[in-house]
Symmetry: C3
Subunit: 362 residues, 3 copies
């Protein structure tokens, strides 16, 4: 794994355990290419195992001795249900705190104390929080406690959403490779992103999924990234500086229709106007950042159309029936890659790998 | 199974799977007498199996490889807990969406997209919704998706509540037959409703449980139905037309005390004033539609007193201790019949039947 | 067990089952020393068993045939998650009712009917309620129903919180005894509280945890209790009368710094101003009831610092790193003692005891 990046606050939070294995999952930069491919492999095996009823029952026992807390203070259905589905598939009981109005916080407790209390009951805390840096702060605090457990960032502030980036790259792997099972090969050294053009479209400034995915793609030489956005919503300078440092080929673009014919994948995003301070995005013209049905005749035959969802009008609904539309597949891929991640966090990826090899030729 | 009825919207939604087995559960008309009795039988076996600890553990594995979503946008405790208890008994993990304020809908997502996303995570979606026809619309939409999963109507609009009708008829079976176990017999051809009088009392216009149960009872020759309600709240003409088409003997009545002595079962309901448009039901005199304690000396010895609950003042609380009061039994019966339905939907009714025959003489 | 005390309402509610075993858990007075030690022993064994993955899986089956309802109408995160964690550890599915706005109560149902309905679905109901005496009233009501199930008081009104008292005394046992495992010995007749001084500090009038723990400690001869509180918030006369009747040595104190050097344990509590009628506690000077960092040089070497949490400023955060601070341990102890209690209620404590003796020398 690469050197551990300095976190936004300037503090260096220890994110690995004593065996140099992932412990807290906070930012996309923690995932190098080897780990990404390992998790894709485990995800792919898990879904194959799950297809058989006996396999589903085996998976049900993998983490039945651990329990998870979902501390989801920011509204979310999709990510919440993706993580809880992953827990259920692995037989890991969980509980959640979603509404602080029923919590001890109304009695004047600090959030530090709340997380410390939760760490007494559970074996991992998955957090989603409006405040930037929340996940890393809690990881830092727990590192000093006698009972330390992993923090997994399920999306904090405008910052990052590392597990969304994992599901996005897993979706790309499944569609760019000749066969989705190719990412299972241990001896794999093919770079599926070499020579590929991936366009990110919409509110790139505040869409944390694009930010996180950019960090992952920077691991792959010869990928070409297009940031297609109005000036006011272009990708942040921290990202472009990172891409420069890693010699990634990227360009800014101002109209989707000019580039759609060149894309191997197009990643659409919605306007994140809940982050507006004073309705400033109301007057932005978004018409050049919509994937319309009449663009379809210029789509490449194997174009991968992605969207982190929820969507508004960035994608014409008439495209839903196009087999190149992968945004609902992404949802299901997210469940499997998070299943792989949870298994990995508790050192149970080996159990899944062994089971797969016992039952499936490969 | 009878011809599939045309659904209220005029659309014909495919409700069966390729083996002509129940797939989406939307309306009571989908259940014919054979299927009703089969589900009662499975329910009865399930509760017998569950009595022993080893049996409860066997049931815990029956659907442990499937997962359920309860999309309950309309307030409900009873139906929600009945379905979740059924899931728990069968070992089927579930999750719920109950409050759209924590969901993606606040970010502008359509409900179609929400259901499509949920279909990626789960194996069945049980819906309860204020909007009439919601369940069938979602079934229709999913039928066109690569990943199609069953929709179960847990109560939509003023329309129908098919699983409540199943629990009601299961309650009647358990009490009308000489022994509750009689509905277990495969060679059963006795019509327990022949010559029986069943009174429906209260807000019949808007009580969807009465509407749904009427459809089921229309399957049985020689049943006599009394609709006891103020004119403004009488049963809908769509129901009476249906009963006419099926030659069912029914009468309108305006005072419960005139008919109570003739009843084999009395099905009480509350005023559904949450459906009032302008408080129009406030001035309706309901005094003739209350089951009072002083009627008890005219009750038949085996009268079955039912209520879908919650109740207000339609039943005098002094009757609660009367062994003929079956409204709390109904609640528990609902859990078992829904357990049977879920098992049936996933083709696991045979597993329960086999287990029963291996362990119980019968 | 001692004679069953008369409950606050004056009614005598039957709390034992036909084998004179605990059935409803309503008040701390139900627990005598023998039962307290038995539960501590089961809790200690359970956590030892859980340490091994195979042990955790064994525990997962102990109550998999039962199901629990948490009826938590009063806000609570800590107690809720403690009970649900206990359920999860024992493999017991549960569900909850926390927000009456989604329940049938909006349709005009009485809370009696709600609990009766819940009793049809579940095997135990754990209640937390703002109304004093709610748990005992529900126990009384269910005792008259054909299907009677245990009620467990998870905190009602300003009255009592018996399971919090159990976790507090379990924490004391673990820290007062030379080895925490000593409370496992069957032949144990040592009184760990003999000659010990325990100070209760803060809002003793309305802190139900202190009230409940006082009842338990009154079971142990030669304990000395200090009630350190402003006059307006001193412990209730019902408690002092109870202690007088049981010859317990207790004193009232007005400043923590005067007594801290004498304490073997100090039990800090927060101001319960949510019970204020007209902001009457706003003007109370609490400065003499704070555990400050500069008191640390007068702490006894084995002082036990406790707090039921959530805390405000009663404990200086700089003390958190002191190994004598046990308030986060208390949280985890609560999970284990509630696990023991749930196992006991369903007669599964013997299963745990047998498992422990088969696998651990002792």
């Amino acid at each position: 794994m690469d050197e551990l990046p300095t976190l936004p606050t300037g503090r260096r939070v220890k994110l690995l355990n004593q065996n140099d294995r992932l412990f807290h999952v906070i930012i996309a930069q923690q995932f190098d290419r080897e780990l990404i491919e390992h998790l894709c492999r485990i995800a792919e095996m898990t879904r194959a195992i799950h297809d058989a009823r006996a396999g589903a029952r085996f998976l049900n026992t993998v983490l039945s001795h651990k329990r998870a807390m979902l501390y989801f203070i920011q509204p979310s259905t999709r990510t919440f249900l993706s993580f809880t589905s992953a827990c259920q598939i692995l037989g890991m009981p969980y509980n959640d705190v979603r509404d602080t109005s029923t919590s001890s916080e109304v009695k004047g407790e600090t959030e530090d104390d709340t997380i410390r209390v939760l760490s007494q009951y559970f074996d991992v805390i998955i957090v989603r929080h409006p405040q930037e840096g929340f996940a890393e702060n809690m990881a830092h605090m727990l590192n000093a406690m006698p009972r330390n457990i992993p923090i997994v960032n399920g999306g904090s502030g405008k910052d990052q959403h590392p597990t969304q980036a994992l599901l996005d790259i897993y979706t790309l792997y499944r569609n760019l490779l000749p066969s989705p099972l190719d990412c299972l090969r241990h001896d794999h050294d093919h770079n599926p992103f070499a020579g590929k053009t991936i366009a990110f479209v919409g509110d790139l400034k505040r869409g944390r999924t694009v930010r996180s995915l950019s960090y992952l793609l920077a691991r792959y030489p010869d990928v070409r990234m297009l940031f297609v956005a109005p000036d006011e919503l272009q990708i942040g300078e921290d990202i472009s500086a990172y891409l420069d440092r890693h010699d990634v080929n990227y360009e800014y673009k101002a109209d989707l229709k000019d580039v759609i014919a060149d894309c191997d994948a197009v990643y659409m995003t919605r306007l994140q106007d809940e982050h507006d301070v004073a309705g400033e995005s109301k007057n932005i013209d978004l018409s050049r950042f919509v994937l319309t049905a009449d663009m379809a005749d210029r789509f490449r035959p194997k174009l991968i159309i992605m969207h982190p969802l929820p969507r508004r009008r960035e994608i014409d609904k008439r495209l839903d029936a196009d087999p190149r539309a992968k945004y609902f597949d992404q949802v299901r891929n997210g469940m499997w890659i998070r299943t792989a991640l949870m298994a990995y966090l508790f050192n149970a990826d080996g159990t899944i790998l062994d089971h797969y090899h016992s039952y499936y030729s490969y």
